[in-house]
């Protein structure tokens, strides 16, 4: 199963995710690292993307801006 790891920096628009995923239709599992100052804020940033996803497995991790890059 093809996996992808994507990091969404604080300055990147979450809508960029949809564009990235559409370029890789064979990816079935996504690890999404989202930069935000607060853990739950990370999910709030990508909520629309999560709501529109039905076919892929997604793990969302919160990252502080600039952490572990």
């Amino acid at each position: 199963m093809k996996e992808a790891r994507i990091r969404l920096s604080e300055s990147t628009s979450p809508s960029e995710l949809t564009r990235l995923i559409s370029q890789a239709p064979d990816v079935r599992r996504i690890v999404l690292e989202v930069e935000a100052n607060d853990r739950v804020r990370a999910v709030e940033r990508v909520r629309d993307f999560l709501l529109s996803n039905i076919s892929r497995t997604i793990f969302v991790y919160a990252r502080e801006p600039g952490e572990g890059e």
Partner: protein, 517 residues
């Protein structure tokens, strides 16, 4: 007993509802016409527990998670919410499942919108999460993992995600991911915030564990997934898998050993168990029902589809054959949930193109009526749902639904209208809000109410509660139905006198709107 992992839920989930599954639906309602404590006694009485606070029966979904963890050698157990304190002193992980954490599913969402009062499921869950012992354990490093069919609600209620200090939300069939998550939590490793389990990561039938303890009211799965692909439903996103009879029997035995006297066969459509496509497998169904009756005096179905009722009876006399197996000295009727959703052919074609199959969608109203007639003749009592506010709904669709309701008047059934909740393929669509209710919606709500009150009274007196021990429950339900009739007549008078708009202004805003603030 020192547990590493506690699995639990609030009282509205952790109850056998007096062994009457239908009473469980009252947990989706607000406590109207009686004090909340009495309402909770009516719909969610406490369960029997062992000396460690482990309930004799527990929700089936939690039993699956418990089994997956125990099979992996993890020290876990389901604990009744009244017995959490002593286990929280040592546990490292708290896992919580629910069908409707924040009353955002139907029908909770419309009871809240119509009455302006928060349903007890949401109140009870919040009370659980605000308990001092959970907050204290959280301060000591307890990790909280939450899941179940309503996990999606947390995406809308991130305020509670923060307040309750939830570490991870798991959305979807969790058996294949839960062991890894819990091991990470026990080892103090980083946890994901949110996990969505896609169709490629759902467990195969062999990977689904057998429950270790009894399930509420003996409910057991016979299959997962649904082949009909209705767009408003999340179950159809997952692949179809049938449990073999041997696996079903193992779970029947677990429940029988715990002393349960009845079982519920769970499927989105019991009548397609073992089917090739939508062609019923008569032999498999007869074997399944004979097997269940070997262990239990009474059985119920969770759901069937109306098209399958009509087709299987007309082609195979299947309903005759199954009721011959089911009915005996212990049982002479059966209850089941069914979905009407709409009376409109136009809308049926758009949102549930395979719901009428093998009949064409053009025949949907006829399929519904014929199936209701078959069920009425066989003493099968459906609790049917309608969806109001479906995307692209027009007035002509609502008129068609009203016409269908007129045709269903004489069939013993409950019909519950539900507001559209964005799930399944439609999960990114707009919610249906009370501000969008028009006169036709009100007329549908009104028709459904009087239909259900009429047949509800009939069932309370003649079928559902037999035996002296149910007299207090019957009395309370009769009083409640009388209260509902009185209130409904009052609202009808207001509507006639003041019109819809002023009646709507007299109520609170919808829960969904409140949740978006």
């Amino acid at each position: 007993m020192r547990l590493d992992v506690i699995i639990t839920s609030d009282r509205t989930m952790m109850s056998n509802h007096h062994h009457k599954e239908f009473l469980g639906f009252f947990t989706t309602g607000p406590p109207i016409g009686m004090p909340e404590k009495l309402w909770m006694w009516l719909c969610a009485p406490k369960l029997k527990v062992d000396r460690w606070g482990r309930p004799i029966e527990a929700p089936y979904g939690l039993r699956k998670i418990e089994a997956a963890l125990l099979d992996a050698g993890i020290n876990a157990a389901i604990i009744d919410p009244d017995h959490l304190s002593r286990h929280l002193r040592h546990a490292k992980v708290l896992m919580i499942g629910h069908h409707d954490f924040f009353a955002m599913c139907s029908p909770s969402v419309e009871w809240w919108a119509i009455t302006g009062v928060e349903p007890v499921n949401s109140r009870s869950f919040k009370r659980l999460m605000r308990r001092p012992e959970i907050r204290e354990a959280k301060r000591r490093g307890l990790r909280i993992i939450v899941g179940g069919p309503a996990a999606w609600q947390w995406l809308w209620r991130t305020d509670y995600w923060r307040e309750f200090g939830v570490d991870t939300i798991v959305d979807g069939e969790a058996e294949k991911v839960v062991v890894d998550l819990v091991e990470k939590a026990l080892n103090g490793d980083e946890l994901p915030l949110y996990v969505y389990v896609g169709p490629d990561d759902v467990p195969s039938v062999d990977e689904i564990p057998v429950i270790r303890g009894a399930s509420i009211n003996g409910l057991i799965e016979i299959m997962r997934g649904c082949p009909r692909g209705c767009k408003f439903c999340s179950v159809t996103l997952r692949p179809l898998r049938y449990y073999p009879l041997e696996k079903i029997e193992e779970e029947l035995k677990v429940n029988a050993r715990a002393g349960l006297k009845s079982c519920i066969l769970h499927s989105e459509d019991v009548l397609v168990y073992g089917a090739r496509g939508l062609e019923p497998n008569v032999e498999a169904l007869l074997k399944l029902h004979k097997l269940a009756k070997k262990y239990f005096g009474t059985l119920a179905w969770s759901h069937v589809t109306l098209a399958e009722v009509k087709y299987s009876q007309e082609k195979y006399r299947l309903i005759d054959k199954l009721t011959e197996v089911i009915y005996d000295e212990h049982q002479d009727w059966i209850g089941v949930e069914v979905g009407i959703e709409t009376g409109s052919v136009r809308l049926a074609k758009k949102i549930m193109p395979a719901k009428a199959a093998p009949y064409p969608s053009e025949k949907w109203p006829e399929v519904v009526e014929d199936a209701f007639a078959i069920m009425h003749d066989h003493r099968i009592v459906p609790a049917a749902t309608l969806i109001l506010g479906l995307p692209e709904e027009r007035e002509e669709d609502l008129v068609a639904t009203l016409e269908l309701l007129d045709r269903l008047k004489e069939y013993r059934s409950l019909i519950v209208p539900m507001f559209f909740v964005p799930l399944g393929v439609l999960r990114d669509r707009r919610w249906f809000l009370r501000e969008q209710i028009n006169e036709l919606h009100v007329e549908i709500l009104r028709k459904c109410l009087w239909h259900s009150v009429r047949w509800g009274e009939d069932m309370v007196s003649r079928m559902y509660f037999r035996g002296l021990r149910y007299e207090p429950v019957k009395l309370l339900l009769r009083l409640f139905l009388a209260y509902v009739k009185r209130k409904a007549r009052k609202v009808e008078r207001q509507l006639e006198e003041r019109g819809l708009e002023s009646a709507k202004r007299g109520r609170a805003v919808s829960v969904v709107e409140a949740s978006n603030q």
